[in-house]
Amino acid sequence: MAFCIIFLTLILGAFGEEFIEEIFIKPLPPTHLYSYFQFITLVDTESFVHSNLAPRSIGEVISRFQVDELHMTLTEGQWRHSQWGYPVLDAAPGAELYAWFNPEVKDIDLEWRKLSATLSGLFCASLNFIDSFNTITPQMALWPTGAVKSNLNVTTLLRYASLPREIVCTENLTPWKKLLPCESSRGFSALLNSRMIHNTNYHSIGVHVRKVCASEDCTETKLEIKQTVALVYDYKIIGSNDWSFRKLFGHGLPGACPLATSSIIHVDITSNTSYPFQLSPMPDKVVQSRRGGSDLKLAVYEIDASVEMINIGVKHSTKEKLSVIIPPPLHFNRYVLGYGKEFGGIVTELVNNYWTAIDVVVLENAPWWLPIQLSSLRINSEAESKLVKSQYYSPGRSRQKPYHLELLLKLPPRSTTTITIDFEFVFLKWQEYPPDANHGFYIGSAIIAANLPTAKNYTSLPVTGINYHSTINASQSWYPAVFRTNGAMVSLPTPDFSMPYNVICLACTVVALAFGPLHNICTKELILKPVGTPLSLTQKILNFFKRKKE
């Protein structure tokens, strides 16, 4: 059996394909647990005539629409940065899709629409609702994570859209799992039991495709297809803060996927010092990681394909104790101002807890039915703020284009920066309202790209890294991260949906009220017409009866 596996991997290695599965588990004391899965397939060939491990459907999408880099996430719930720190990959609530196209693509917008329609079929999501009216081209916030040709203006090749209303459920997970070489029968993906992972505070599935360097000088590239799952469990739902695979996923881990070159589980045990716990079974090794001023202790399990059921878990030795949550260096909040359905405002609060200034790009993306007024932009109540280093604004157009504002800000040390911008509610046509018009309308989250000077709470992979191991001792001068704020919701004023005929009739009547007399005045002339003495009502009635008798 073991020989078979080695043989298989060798063959696959010869084809230049590689499959890696990894889990990263991090307790988010005091009440939550973060688990992050990534399944990485590295493919050598760019044309998908034949593939052994890589999902062919993704490969076809990539080559057909000439996509250089693709990110798609489907998320339910809101990542709470101030409490939970930073995730490995952040995602906007609902569906989010962005892609860089090949510079040879002639009509990017057309390909973009085709891409979103195809992905909607592939992942059972309503991504086909992406159109020009909710697509933007971020100028500063998003940069390709893959290797790109030098001297290329990558921003023009980018398209971004998010659908905050999108729901995420089993029907999205099912096709997602089918892309994996072991599907859900073996390996880490066997843990992804729909009933368990949808019973979490936050769950996000994603597909990320990029090109990574395959050679030293980066003249050769490989395609990296990374499938991720991020889950945040609430200890309240699990029942206690002693977690185990059985509690989290319904059953233990039935061994690694035989097709994987490496199957590694990392458990962040740094919090062991403040919340002592016992890990079982014992890890294969414990790694110390020092990265940008933060020390981490990671327990590492290397899982074998031949292994029996494993149930990794944690038992806390002491009773629960409460502690103050230390917020990460940068966190943020977003909310809607105003009352009534006429005018309102969006506020984005950015808190810098760190002792140096932090550069951030804030991308506000308001749908067309929520027109923002740039002239009302205030940063800390100032119209012209010195914090703004660069600004980009693309005004929206009704039913065609969203409002898109990007600000490059330098957040002063230990400060709170408030960005306010006013909007006006739009009155839609009655057929443009969704069936549940009074449910409210979702505003997508803002993107915040930060250049963090410290790796505190930072869990992301370095841009050159592929597996999670690359984060260990990966000190850099900057730690770039892209976050999403929470979304918001407004309720637009609604017309009476049952009125169309009445309104049409009434308004036309009023027009006729003008037309009739004016027509008379213009076409007729006044004359005197003799009249008899006016009859009283009784006489009229009598006359009426008389006529009848006759």
Partner: protein, 348 residues
Amino acid sequence: MWWLHIGCIFISLSTFTPYSLGVEIPEKFQKSNHTNNWAVLVDTSRFWFNYRHVANVLSIYRSVKRLGIPDSQIILMISDDMACNPRNPRPATIFNNAHEQINVYGDDVEVDYRGYEVSVENFIRLLTGRVPPDTPRSKQLLTDEGSNILIYLTGHGGDGFLKFQDSEEVTSQELADALEQMWQKRRYNEIFFIIDTCQASSMYEKFYSPNILATASSLVGEDSLSHHVDSAIGVYIIDRYTYYVLEFLENVHTNSQKTMTEFLAVCPKSACLSTVGVRRDLFKRDPSKVPITDFFGSVRPVVITTNTIDIMDIPKRKKTEIENRTKVLEKRKYLPQFPMHLVQGSTQ
């Protein structure tokens, strides 16, 4: 009552004969000239209190999938998210009864149209094949003249219409015209049309295209009733008609020889509290001779050939352009993940 009699014979046959007999298809069962099976399953109601309609449509989905129609040939339309609805105490599940016997949502479900996508326009476009050019295959009804289609609709209806999403409606005439267009475009061989709404039979009364067998959970003037409530979920869980249909279909296997007649008699008035309507004048075959798997499964007659077939001569795949092109070695690099060039006074 003669057809009931035959039905009884078949039940007795299937109970007494061993399974191996199922492989040999009885002669009269081979008469269907369909080559593939499709299913269009639509739930048209939005909002949590219509949980039962989602349970209805998923019951049928579960059955047809179990009986062998692949996901690629099932078009499932669900108007609202009940499984992962925040009000659902058990996320990612939808049950057919309060004892939680069957999770009709399952672990393997592919919803093709969901949420706001379920509209009258999309439904009619799907049936008639007039979809926008970029529509993915999973959202298209790629049927041909050999296709047997099962159409199942559930939601809130009235005399002559079916409401979609509580905001628009499809009328029986529009539906009949859509089916006629399908017939003219040779998009089906036979259609089995099931509808579970109030006054359901009004929806098929206007049909005028051939080869359609239609059944409805209630006649005009009758309400279709729900089966029971689950106090943990807090809403009615499933409708009576579909509940008994699922009960019936759970006992049907790919090899079983039950006929459509049995299916049409599945919910007597004592159980349904409404009269199940059937329309068979457009359908050429005798329902008592039509196996249920003609619509609910994907059982096809297999022809065994003894001739040798040369498979060596496979046409070679054309070499793609990319391979022909001489590879230009181009240096790539990772970009900084932040617009450093715009940050003034920064080092790096």
